[in-house]
Amino acid sequence: MSYHSRRCLRSLPTITAIVSCLLLALPFYASGQEPVTDSVPADTAVVIEAAPPTTVLSSDHKYDDGDQINLSWVPSIDETLKDSKVIGYKIYRAEDGGEFELLAEIPDVDTTNAYADQEVEHGHKYAYYVASVTETGEYASLETMPLEPEREWLDLNKAYLFIMALIISGAVIIYVETAKRGKELFVRKIAGLEAIDDAVGRATEMGRPVLFIPGIHDMDDVQTLAALTILGRVARTIADYDTKIFMPVSRSLVMTAARETIKSSYQAAGRPDAYNDDMVNYVTDEQFGYVAAVDGIMVREKPATVFLLGAFFAESLILAETGNSVGAIQIAGTARPAQLPFFIAACDFTLIGEELFAASAYLSGEPRQLGSLKGQDVGKAIAMVVIIGGVATATLAGAWQMGFAESIHGWLMEVFSTN
């Protein structure tokens, strides 16, 4: 059966089919013959409980990999009736001219008249129809024309994001180049980082170890990477001072990476003989098992200095309070805003958010790295201007209904909204 004939048959509303059958049967009755087709008997009453949905449209989802088709329809007119019998819709789909199969059931008739089919592939054609569902039957709409989802090579929805990324990245690179040419850049003092040498020195004087906790996430978290870059600097100081460092970790990959980092720092300090693998130990991946082990180490070893740098969750305060109870000087830092108050309450110094990422550049004092910090300031300046502009235009639009302010506010929302 060809696609068009099947489409024609499928799309016939039930009532049309009945009328057609009756028309076909007429010549037989006129000639006194019984109809030979299995048409509806004359005494059978056919009740149409609901009209099918109309104007079923399928459209390609823009700026994707050809993996989504959007479907919309005008709901069954029966939905507007007080005693509507429509209890939902069913969506059927045929791929490349094949048989129609049930794709989805939509029970909520009040709010839903659209569907995003994300189970499609570029290179195939898809046709759909939607059926109103009642307690006793289904009433199908017309079919849509077959549609092949298109693959786009540029996501223009992210054009503004791309431009912003270019501006901020460009600013970082320009400042790095400026710093390379020898221009002095001012970077404000960060108390937590200024205290690192003193903290390691304290451990040396007291003859007690330094404990370094790199959070509980793996190497795919940028906070862990930031922690390891700080570890590189801290380990160099520790190697110079000949202090003991102990680093229990909760991820195997962090263990291997941290060992390499410390080993390299000891080599750079000219003391490769002082390094040994036992400085870094794997404990467990389990969150509170790790906390129990680290707390035990703190209580037994009584470290003079504790670094808590990386991604932390509920364990942040348990670790910080235990460190506090053993009298350690504590330097903490995380990019998780929910954990920052705990660190601020329980630790001596806290690197707040971006300071964690700035730490390595700050500690190195290297012009190129400091230049990257200055590049961030351009991003902050843009954020400040946008926030002030957004507040001003929203106020003008809301309080005085100024059209131009509303337009600017809408544009700012479009450009800077994360949704």
Binding site: R151, G232, L253, A268, A292, L317, P337, I344
Partner: protein, 224 residues
């Protein structure tokens, strides 16, 4: 060479993943690399498990301080590993999931691991109290503000807050303690959090660029 190869890999993969964000056909590249990372992490587990065994066996062999605890660690490790690997007491066939209800692994996880984890987590309540006691001392102006804000929020989250401020007329209902608590959370608190989030976002961009461009090398031991 020891630094050049990791730096090249970081540069190549970093640039590729940035481009992938803007090119839909490459959109799943991030997930693919995450999968590669997971595979690597599974193999790295052997290193971690091996390290755990080595440390505790050494501790036992040399009778280091607190060595009896190593027996507990090694027993737990061995028992859990055996229960999972050999699917001891697993209902169903060998293909059944290791954590099927009724298996020894399931029993040990729910009868030992979960209660032990909950016990550690419950310590948080006491630590919150001790940390709050120190943080909320009105040592200076900022600490006093923190103390007042915390007091309002604590009261606002209890029926007592409404009980003592319910008489305030509806025209100035913002000053009813529960409403004041909501305002503190939604306005000054949220504004502060968003400022931190913007800083974090910019910090991540800057740090990522330093890593991708090879400016940041301290995780490789710094410049040689």
């Amino acid at each position: 060479m020891r630094q050049t190869i990791p730096l090249f890999i970081t540069f190549f993969i970093g640039i590729l993943l940035i481009i992938a964000v803007f090119i839909p056909p490459f959109g799943e590249l991030g997930e693919t690399f995450t999968l590669f990372f997971d595979i690597m992490a599974v193999f790295a587990f052997f290193l971690g498990g091996g390290n755990l065994l080595r440390v505790h066996i050494n501790k036992l062999r040399n009778k280091k301080p607190d060595w009896p605890y190593s027996i507990v660690t090694l027993s737990g490790f061995g028992l859990m590993l055996a229960a999972g690997l050999f699917k001891i007491n697993n209902p169903g066939d060998i293909a059944a999931a290791v954590d099927t209800a009724g298996s020894l692994f399931y029993f040990m996880f729910h009868a030992a691991m979960v209660p032990l984890g909950s016990t550690m987590y419950s310590l948080l309540a006491f630590f919150v109290a001790s940390a709050s006691y120190r943080a909320f001392r009105a040592k200076n102006r900022e600490a006093t503000l923190l103390l007042i804000a915390a007091f309002i929020i604590l009261l606002g989250r209890t029926p007592f807050g409404m009980y003592i401020s319910g008489w305030i007329p509806d025209e100035v209902s913002l000053f009813q303690i529960p409403n004041l608590a909501v305002w503190i959370m939604n306005s000054p608190n949220l504004a502060g959090q968003r400022a931190i989030m913007i800083g974090i976002g910019l910090g991540v961009i800057s740090m990522s660029l330093r890593l991708i461009l090879g400016i940041e090398r301290s995780y490789l031991g710094g410049d040689k």
